[in-house]
């Protein structure tokens, strides 16, 4: 048994026979071309460029179908390379000046650039050269009228081993019967790794010489979690990994069985389990989860990458589509939490380059300075209320005056719409995001003005502990289990409940199976989680005993540090 350590590129475990893909060494020979035929040679190269463009169109269609728009940008990058002066200009120049065949001129040009890329210290930039090779190989294949290697002749399930795997090879893996792949080259940030993750194919890369050490037919274990390849594993090792695999499959099945079941504890306490939504594009997969509602619809996406502010019509269309699809289940729409830099992009006067944007002009602060933007969004949201159940949430609230100002604006928008003949109901629920400690500490002053509270844990933790998570010197101090956080959330829930208002929690804490027992014990009415963790969190809630968790929170709140809280939870097997 030989264990080789590489880089875990895509999680999952595969056990099976190896299929070693011979390195695609296309042999290019130098041919001297007579002077009078050089222009024809350049034309031949141009024809190959055209054929490669057609290839890329086909590849794009495939990626779009399999993975969606985000990944299709990879093909765009390949198109740019194909149009690069290196290809369009340098190669014909080499053909003409050196009097050589197109294949040779191309491979010389590619090699020259490759040598420069290899010198780069930054892995992220160095990995980009694989995209260049991908395009280069497509071109060469056309020049040589050479069919590119294909995985179509792999008929049995196997683990693919090769020196390198180009992004275009990876795209084709899903249709083949490949269980996983291991390569000598590659890094975690290469397009190949990213594609493997999206296609959910286990992969280990950067193994240096695995393609020479494994023979086709060898039994191998691919451990995409630890980044290991095990050649000729002992029966014990195989048994161990088979057990892992089995457990994974069973865990997956157990989660699937929870679809459509309520998030209810062992002692019959029901929680609302909702999901966070970033863009309406995610709606299709989100509907399949059968969540109790959308606890946080972030609307920032509407304001990104554009030069004008989104119109009421455009926004209303987006909100209506989501609200209609979820009806009668509730959708909490959060007004945009954008910063000043977005405004200047949209041609509106606003602060640029704030030194500390986290504490700068953003969220409700910014919108109360630009009432036109705020009212446009409120009107668009109100227009969606007739299509289902809509609630409005305001981000970055730190004073009661802000809530009162929003109330006035909302009333104004409502009566305007009603005057225009839109049947907007009165009393659409309005809530605040509790993320600034001031709002948490004096929530009692806020509750008469609001209908519900949503705790945004990420920012609440960051502001309470004064920790910038992006700052590596202090990131370790960011701690959801800090007793101050537990006490603060507990205080928020108690204050809201006393006034008869409901509490939702969103933010990463709700998607952490270790933190959820505390939120359950605090009696938060609703948890809004990331779609990826939805079933997992439902499983967590359904395994808990509410009364026991309530007692646990009581103990946690008097702990003096987070380690004590974690120990308490461990003792309960959590």
């Amino acid at each position: 048994m030989i264990i080789i350590k590489g880089i875990a590129a895509s999680p999952g475990i595969a056990i099976g026979k190896a299929y070693v893909l011979e390195d695609e060494e296309i042999v290019v020979t130098r041919v001297d071309i007579p002077r009078d035929r050089l222009h024809a040679e350049v034309q031949r190269f141009k024809a190959a460029q055209k054929a490669t463009h057609r290839d890329l169109d086909a590849a794009e269609a495939k990626v779009l179908k399999l993975l969606g728009r985000k990944h299709a940008k990879l093909i765009d990058a390949h198109r740019l390379i194909l149009r690069d002066t290196l290809i369009t200009h340098d190669v014909p120049k080499r053909i003409l000046s050196e009097g050589v065949n197109a294949e040779f001129a191309l491979s010389e040009a590619l090699e020259a650039v490759n040598q420069q890329f290899e010198k780069l210290k930054d892995e992220f930039f160095r990995e980009r050269r694989h995209d260049l090779f991908d395009v280069g190989k497509r071109l060469l294949a056309h020049l040589l009228r050479h069919a590119r290697r294909s995985l179509a002749d792999v008929k049995e399930p196997c683990i693919l081993i090769s020196r390198n795997l180009l992004p275009s090879d990876t795209i084709n893996l899903q249709e083949s019967c490949i269980l996983g792949f291991a390569t000598d080259l590659g890094g975690k940030t290469s397009h190949t790794a990213i594609l493997a993750q999206s296609l959910e194919i286990p992969a280990v890369v950067g193994l240096s010489d695995v393609s020479r050490r494994v023979k086709t037919g060898d039994t191998v274990v691919l451990d995409g979690e630890q980044g290991l390849v095990i050649i000729a594993p002992t029966p014990e090792a195989v048994a161990k990994y088979e057990k892992f695999q089995q457990q994974e499959i069973e865990a997956e099945r157990a989660l699937e069985a929870l679809r459509g079941l309520p998030a209810v504890t062992q002692d019959d306490k029901r929680f609302r389990l909702e999901v966070n939504l970033d863009t309406p594009e995610e709606m299709k997969s989100l509907l399949a989860l059968q969540a109790d509602g959308i606890g946080l619809f972030r609307t920032e996406y509407l304001y990104l990458n554009r030069t004008t502010a989104p119109t009421e019509e455009e926004q209303a269309k987006a909100y209506v589509s989501v609200v209609k699809a979820m009806a009668p289940r509730p959708v909490v729409i959060r007004t945009a939490d954008v910063g000043g830099d977005r405004l200047s992009q949209m041609g509106i006067e606003g602060p640029k380059n704030e030194v500390n944007p986290f504490m700068g002009l953003r969220g409700v602060r910014l919108f109360l300075r630009h009432l036109d933007l705020f009212k446009t969004q409120l009107r668009a949201i109100l227009r969606a209320t007739v299509k289902g159940s809509v609630k409005i949430m305001i981000p970055m609230v730190s004073s009661v005056a802000e809530v009162q100002a929003v109330r006035r604006l909302l009333a104004q928008a409502t009566s305007e719409l009603q005057a225009e003949g839109v049947k907007v109901p009165e009393g659409v629920e309005l809530g605040i995001m509790v993320e600034i400690p001031a709002a948490a500490v004096m929530l009692d002053a806020f509750v008469p003005h609001i209908d519900f509270v949503s705790v945004g844990t990420n920012d609440l933790i960051q502001y309470t502990l004064a920790v910038d998570r992006v700052n590596e010197n202090v990131a370790h101090l960011y701690d959801p289990f800090h007793p101050a956080i537990i006490r603060l959330i507990q205080h928020v829930v108690a204050t809201a409940h006393k006034a008869g208002k409901w509490v939702s929690v969103c933010g990463e804490m709700t998607s952490d199976p270790h933190a959820v027992p505390l939120l359950v014990g605090m009696d938060c009415d609703c948890l809004s989680v990331s779609p990826r963790m939805f079933l997992r969190i439902k499983q967590t809630v359904r395994r808990l005993h509410y009364a026991t968790m309530a007692k646990l929170v009581g103990k946690a709140a008097i702990c003096s540090d987070s380690d004590d809280i974690r120990r308490l939870m461990r003792e309960q097997g959590l």
């Binding site: 940008k73 765009d76 990058a77 740019l80 390379i81 690069d84 002066t85 290196l86 650039v113 420069q116 890329f117 780069l120 210290k121 930054d122 992220f124 930039f125 980009r128 995209d131 260049l132 990104l304 990458n305 830099d341 992009q345």
Partner: protein, 88 residues
């Protein structure tokens, strides 16, 4: 000929997408657009060459533009940097 030093604004530096946007913008002008960093100078109309600069976030690159529409070209590229290449 005009010269200008700009700070690299995209989060991951001048990687594929921003480099692509740079090249598309540069390609609209007749002027020669050269970009240099740490003594290496490359053609601003070639995406591969731009990536070879490995210009990471926060580093500085020097633009050298010469041609009939050099002012317009500089203004367009400066705008791209100011917009942070439309990153989120």
């Amino acid at each position: 000929m005009i010269k200008k030093v700009l700070k690299v604004t995209p989060r991951l530096g001048l990687h594929a997408k921003p480099a692509g946007m740079f090249v598309r913008e540069a390609g609209r002008f007749k002027s020669e657009i050269m970009v240099s960093k740490d003594g290496a100078e490359v053609n601003g109309k070639s995406v591969m060459q731009l990536m070879l600069l490995a210009a990471e976030h926060g580093s500085r690159v020097t633009l050298r533009i010469s041609g009939p529409d050099e002012m317009e070209a500089l203004a367009a590229i400066e705008k791209l940097f100011a917009r942070k290449f439309d990153e989120e």
